[in-house]
C-alpha cells in the first residue's frame, strides 16, 4: 500500500454504492490504465465516510482532498486534472451551505469538527475487503495481546474499568455482562453479535460492518476468550447484502490467516464465527427474540430473567453485544481502560455514533464523545437547520425514543441524561425536526412503525399501540377531545408499564414526550381544531384572499376536483366541501392570493 504515490479512496458504503460508486471505481481504474498510471495510483473502495448526503465521496491522499457528489463520468477529470496535473477539480469540491465557503478537505467540513473516531476509526480509510490493510491499522493486535498476555478475568476487568456500556440501546455495562457470562460455567457458550440494526435511519452498525468488519470479528474473538466460548454468531439482517458479503470475505480471510478457527495464533484458543440471517423484524434486535430467531423459532421475546448470560442460545450461556459495542473493544485493549474512560461523561464513557437525519444540513454518520451537547451536534456538526428554519425538536433513540426540544439543547447527550429527558439513546438515531413539523403527526408516524413491528405477543403492545395510533389519527383529523389527551397519557403509561419487552416498554415514548413538551399543539388540535404546523390535512382549509385575487382563473383550471369557482377578473372562491387540499391552486397562484388557514 505504501508503494503507490497517490491513493484514491472511493466510498463503497451502501448509499454511495447505490449512486454508482462501483462504476466510478471502474472508470477511475480505466483512466489510470489509459494513462499508464496504474502502478503509481491506487484506487481503494472503502467503507462509509458518514457523509451520506454528499455521496459518492472520493478522497485523495496525499492532501486529503474530498470530492463530493462524484459521478462515474468525473473519473476522467479526477485523473487528468488532480492526479496528472495536481490541480483540484473545483466543481467537485464541497460548498458549505451555511458559510458558502468551498471546502477542500475532510477536516474543514463542519461535520468533522468535534468528532473523535473510535468505532469508525478505519471506515473510509481501509479497504474492508483486504485483511492486510486492516492489519496495517492494528487489527488483531489486541486479540494477540489478550491471548498471549492476559487471563479472561483480566480482560473482563479492563472492559469493566473502561466503563463501556452497550451501544444497542439499553446501555448495560458490557464488562458486567461478560463477567456474568464468564461465571456461568457450561460446556458450551456463545458470543452473539447483534447486527439486526432496525431503527429507521440508523446505519452505524452497517457502516462498521461494511467499512471495518475485522474490528467486529476481532472483538468477538476477544469476548469468546474472556467468557470461555468458542463459537460466535453474527445475527445480521438479510437486507444488508453488502455488509454480509464483506463479513463473509473478512471471516474467510481471518480463517486463512489463522486469526479465526482452531488454535488462533498458535495459542491453542479456538474460536470461529458463523453468520445467521434475520428477516428484518425490528423486535429481533431484542436479545431474547434474536436468540429465538437464531434457534429457528418465531422471533419474539421471552421474560427475563433468565437472562441470555444464564440461558441463551440453545439454553447455553450467551453473551449478546451489538456491533458498535464490539467495535470499541480493540482500542480499549490496546490503549487501556483509562484512555477510554477519559473520553465521555461521568457515567457514559467513550464515544457514540449518531445517524443524523431530518431537517439538518449535514445528514450522515458522526462519532462524538458521550456528553457532547445537543446544540453542538445539531448546530456545529450538523450545520444547523435546513433552509434557515427554526429548530423544533430532535428525536433520539429511534422510533421508540422521545423528542428533545430547545430546552434540552445544552443537555450533554449520554445514556442517563436522555432517559431523564424522557427519551433514550437507542442505537443512536437522531432525527431533527423544524417548525414545519406537527408533533402530533410525528408521534403518529413513529407509532406507525412500532405498531407494524410489534411481534404481537403481549396484549398492551399488540393492541395498546394500535389504539394509541388510532387515537392520534382521530386527533389529527380534528375529532379528538381534551379527554382524549388524558386517555392517550394513561394508555401510554400502562403500555410502558406492562409490556413484555423493550419495544412495548418504550413505544409510547414519542407520544409521552410530545405530549409533555408540545401540549399546546395537541390542545390546538382538539380544541380549536387547528394544526399549528399546518401539516394535518383535515385541519386546514385553503382560502382565497379576495383582495389579492385578480381572477386569472389559473387556480380554477388546475383544481382537479372543480372546487374553485368565479368569474374571469373577479375574485374566486374555494368550496371547502369539495376541496381535497392537494395544494395545486396555491402552487399555481402568482399573486399570493391563496393561503392555508
Amino acid at each position: 500500500m505504501a508503494k503507490q504515490k497517490i491513493q484514491i479512496i472511493v466510498c463503497g458504503g451502501t448509499s454511495c454504492n447505490g449512486n454508482q460508486s462501483e462504476l466510478l471505481i471502474d472508470n477511475l481504474r480505466l483512466e489510470l490504465e489509459a494513462n499508464a498510471l496504474e502502478n503509481d495510483v491506487r484506487v481503494i473502495k472503502s467503507g462509509c465516510f458518514g457523509l451520506c448526503n454528499l455521496g459518492p465521496i472520493v478522497k485523495i491522499i496525499p492532501g486529503d482532498t474530498i470530492y463530493t457528489h462524484v459521478k462515474p463520468d468525473d473519473a476522467r477529470d479526477i485523473v487528468s486534472e488532480h492526479v496528472m496535473k495536481g490541480r483540484k477539480v473545483e466543481r467537485l469540491l464541497f460548498t458549505d451551505p451555511v458559510t458558502k465557503k468551498v471546502l477542500a478537505t475532510e477536516r474543514e467540513l463542519s461535520s468533522h469538527k468535534k468528532q473523535i473516531r473510535i468505532v469508525l476509526r478505519n471506515c473510509g480509510i481501509i479497504d474492508p475487503e483486504n485483511i492486510d490493510e486492516a492489519i496495517a491499522y492494528n487489527a488483531y493486535e489486541a486479540l494477540g495481546k489478550v491471548l498471549t498476555e492476559m487471563k479472561p478475568p483480566e480482560v473482563i476487568k479492563i472492559v469493566k474499568d473502561s466503563g463501556l456500556r452497550g451501544r444497542g440501546g439499553g446501555g448495560f455495562p458490557t464488562g458486567l455482562k461478560w463477567e456474568i457470562a464468564y461465571k456461568n460455567k457450561s460446556d458450551e457458550k456463545y458470543v452473539v453479535c447483534n447486527a439486526d440494526e432496525g431503527d429507521p435511519g440508523a446505519f452505524m452498525d452497517r457502516s462498521v460492518l461494511e467499512g471495518d468488519p475485522h474490528a467486529v470479528l476481532e472483538a468477538m474473538a476477544i469476548c469468546g476468550y474472556s467468557i470461555e466460548s468458542h463459537k460466535g454468531l453474527i445475527y445480521i439482517r438479510a437486507e444488508y447484502p453488502l455488509a454480509v458479503s464483506r463479513l463473509k470475505t473478512a471471516i474467510q480471510q481471518a480463517r486463512e490467516y489463522g486469526l479465526l478457527g482452531k488454535n488462533i495464533m498458535g495459542t491453542g484458543f479456538d474460536f470461529d464465527i458463523e453468520i445467521r440471517y434475520g428477516a428484518g423484524a425490528f423486535v429481533c434486535g431484542e436479545e431474547t427474540a434474536l436468540i429465538h430467531s437464531m434457534e429457528g423459532l418465531r422471533g419474539e421475546p421471552t421474560v427475563k430473567p433468565p437472562f441470555p448470560a444464564e440461558s441463551g442460545f440453545r439454553g447455553k450461556p450467551t453473551n449478546v453485544n451489538n456491533v458498535e459495542t464490539f467495535a470499541c473493544l480493540s482500542p480499549i485493549i490496546l490503549k487501556g481502560a483509562e484512555w477510554f474512560a477519559s473520553i465521555g461523561s461521568i457515567k457514559s464513557k467513550g464515544t457514540k455514533v449518531f445517524a443524523l437525519a431530518g431537517k439538518i444540513n449535514n445528514v450522515g454518520l458522526i462519532e462524538v464523545p458521550m456528553g457532547t451537547t445537543l446544540r453542538e451536534v445539531i448546530f456545529e456538526i450538523g450545520g444547523g437547520i435546513r433552509y434557515g428554519k427554526k429548530f423544533k425538536a430532535a428525536q433520539t433513540g429511534g422510533p421508540s425514543g422521545g423528542c428533545l426540544t430547545e430546552k434540552h439543547l445544552e443537555t450533554p447527550i449520554d445514556f442517563d441524561n436522555l432517559i431523564a429527558a424522557g427519551s433514550m439513546m437507542g442505537s443512536g438515531g437522531l432525527i431533527v425536526m423544524d417548525e414545519d413539523d406537527c408533533m402530533v403527526s410525528v408521534a403518529k408516524f413513529f407509532l406507525d412503525f412500532t405498531v407494524e413491528e410489534s411481534c404481537g405477543k403481549c396484549a398492551p403492545c399488540r393492541i395498546g399501540n394500535k389504539r394509541l395510533h388510532e387515537l392520534l389519527e382521530h386527533i389529527t383529523k380534528g375529532k379528538g377531545t381534551l379527554a382524549d389527551l388524558d386517555r392517550l397519557k394513561n394508555m401510554s403509561l400502562v403500555i410502558k408499564d406492562t409490556s413484555l419487552c423493550g419495544l412495548g416498554q418504550s413505544s409510547p415514548n414519542p407520544v409521552l414526550s410530545t405530549l409533555e413538551n408540545f401540549r399546546e399543539e395537541y390542545e390546538a388540535h382538539v380544541t380549536i381544531k387547528k394544526c399549528p404546523a399546518g401539516k394535518c390535512k383535515d385541519l386546514m382549509e385553503y382560502f382565497i384572499i379576495s383582495a389579492n385575487c385578480v381572477g386569472c382563473t389559473a387556480c380554477a383550471r388546475v383544481c382537479p376536483v372543480g372546487a374553485i369557482t368565479g368569474e374571469r377578473k373577479e375574485p374566486h372562491v374555494i368550496n371547502p366541501n369539495i376541496c381535497i387540499k392537494c395544494g395545486s391552486c396555491m402552487e399555481k397562484c402568482k399573486f399570493d392570493a391563496i393561503i392555508i388557514q
Partner: protein, 592 residues
Amino acid sequence: METLKLTIDNKQVEVPKGTTINKAAKQLGIEIPTLCYMELHDLNIENNPAGCRICVVEVEKRRNLAPSCATRCEEGMVVKTHTTRVLNARRTVMEFILSDHPKDCLICAKSGNCDLQAMAHQLGIREIPGQEIAAMSTYKKDTSPSIIRNQDKCILCRRCEMMCNTVQTVGALSAVNRGFMATVAPAFEQNLEYSTCTYCGQCVAVCPTGALTEVDNTPDVLRALADPTKTVIVQTAPAVRAALGELFGMEPGTLVTGKMVTALRALGFDYVFDTDFAADLTIMEEGTELLDRLTRHLKGDKTARLPILTSCCPGWVNFFEEYFPDLKDVPSTSKSPQQMFGAIAKTYFADKIKVNRKDLVVVSIMPCLAKKYECQREEFSLDGNRDVDFSISTRELAAFIKQANIDLNNLEEGEFDAPLGESTGAGVIFGTTGGVIEAAVRTAYEVHTGKKLPKVDFNELRGLEGVRSATIDFDGLPINIGIAHGLGNARKLLNDVRSGKSKFHAIEVMACPGGCIGGGGQPLHHGNSEIIKARAAAIYAEDKKKPLRKSHENPFIIKLYEEFLGKPNSEKAHHLLHTKYFDKKKKIIVKQ
C-alpha cells in the same frame, strides 16, 4: 430444598427457590387474576408466555410491573399485588383486549364458560373507551370436520399452541403474522384440514374463549330425531358418564350413567346403547390379535410384528398416519369401539329390528372431537351411508339436554337397552389412560393361560404419569406393557419402535392427557387437573361395581359371536371390525 423469603402484600412467605410470584401469593391465599396462564400440574403442563399481562404486580425496585406467572421470587423481594397502579394497569390492558374481541356473547359457544368473559366481569369492565374508533383484527373462518377456528376471538394466550406443540408435538398450530394481526394458525394460515392436525381437540379443551370450538352436530341429531322415518340409536362412550354431571352443577367425578340413559331416552332416541359393549368387542378382536402376533412371534415368525399398538383412539390414528406412516402395519387393525359399534348396528342390529341401514341413524356421544372426523372417514361407510352418522361431544350433549328442558339432576336412573347396551367393567375403563390395555390383559391372560385371573385390578397400569410401563406375568411368560397418553409421550415410544429399540409387546396410546376423560370434547377443566383425577376415579369405581369385569365374559358378546361373527378374527369379523391405515404425511400443499 433451597428456600427464600419474600413479602407479598405485607405478608412474609417462604417458598422454594424457583417459585413464581403467583404461586407464592397463592400460598398466602392471595389470588392474583390470570388469563393466559394455565397449569395442569399432575400432567406437567404449564403455559406461561406472560402475554396477557393481566397478572402483573408491583415489585419494589423494578421499573415496570412484573408478570406474576412468569417472574420467579427472589430473596427479600417486596411485592404488591393490588395497588392502584396495578389495578389501573390491569383494567386498561383488559380494555385493550376487549376492544379487539367480538361482543357476540349472546350467540357464542363459550358464553358462560369463557375465561375472558369471567375476567371482564371480575375486573368490573362495563364499557370500552374508544371502541367506536377501534379497528378489530379479523381473520377467515376455518371449519374442519371436528374443529371450528374463529381467530377473531383469539386473545393470543397461546395455550392451544403449547398443547399442540409442547404436549402433543403435532405442530399444527403456531403464532403467525405480527403486531395487531398476530394470531395462532396452521402454517401459511391454511385451514386445519391441510395441516398436520389430528383433531385431538386439546386446543379446544384449553381455549379460554370461543376462538376454538367443536363443530356442533346437535342440529343434525335433532333433525334425525324429528324425522319419523328414521330409527335413531345412540351409543355413549365410557368417559362421558364420568363428566357429564359437571355441566349440571355436579361435583367432578359424579357418575351419571343412569340419568344420562334416561335423558337420552327422553330426547327421543329409539334405543340407548353403550359404546362399552363395543369396547368389549374391541378387546375380543384386539386381544386375539395380540395373542396371535405374540404366539407367532414366540415361534420365531418374523412377519409377526411386535409391539402391537392399540388403535381405538382416532387422534392417535391420525397422528401415526401423519408422522409414522412407515409403521402403519404395527397398530392393531381393530376398529375403534365407536366404529365397531356402528358396523354391528348397521348390520346385525339393523337386520334384527328389520330396518334398512339407510333408515337407521347411529349417533355417538363421545368425549372426543376426533371421533367426528373418524366417523366421516370414507372406509367407515357403505355406499355413502356412514356406519356412525353423527358424533357429538359431551359438551354438545349437555347443551342438547338443556335445550330440551330436561333436568338431569332429578332424573330416574335408566338402564341401557339390550343387546348393544350390555357391558363389563373392562369396557368402562377404556375411558381412562391405561384402561384399554388393562382390559386387554384381563382377557388375554385368561385366554392365553386358560386360568382365572388371581386379581382383576392391575394398579401397575394405572396413574397419570405420561409414559408408564409394567411387566405382567402371563403364567411364566412376562409380557411388557407400555402406556402413553398425550401424543408427545406417544411419539417417544413410537421413536423407539421405529428404531427397533422398543422392548414392549403391547403399547396403549391415548392422544389426550389423561385418556378419554381428558378428551377434547369433555367439559372444560379450565386448567384444574383435580377434575381429571376425579373423573378417573369415577371410571374405576364404575368398573369395580360391575358384576362382570372381563370382556370375554359379556354374555351378549358371546351371543354376538355365536349368532353372527363366528369367532374373534374370523373372516366376517375382519370384514366388519377391522380396518387399515393410510400414509397421510402432508406434502406441501398450499390451498386457500
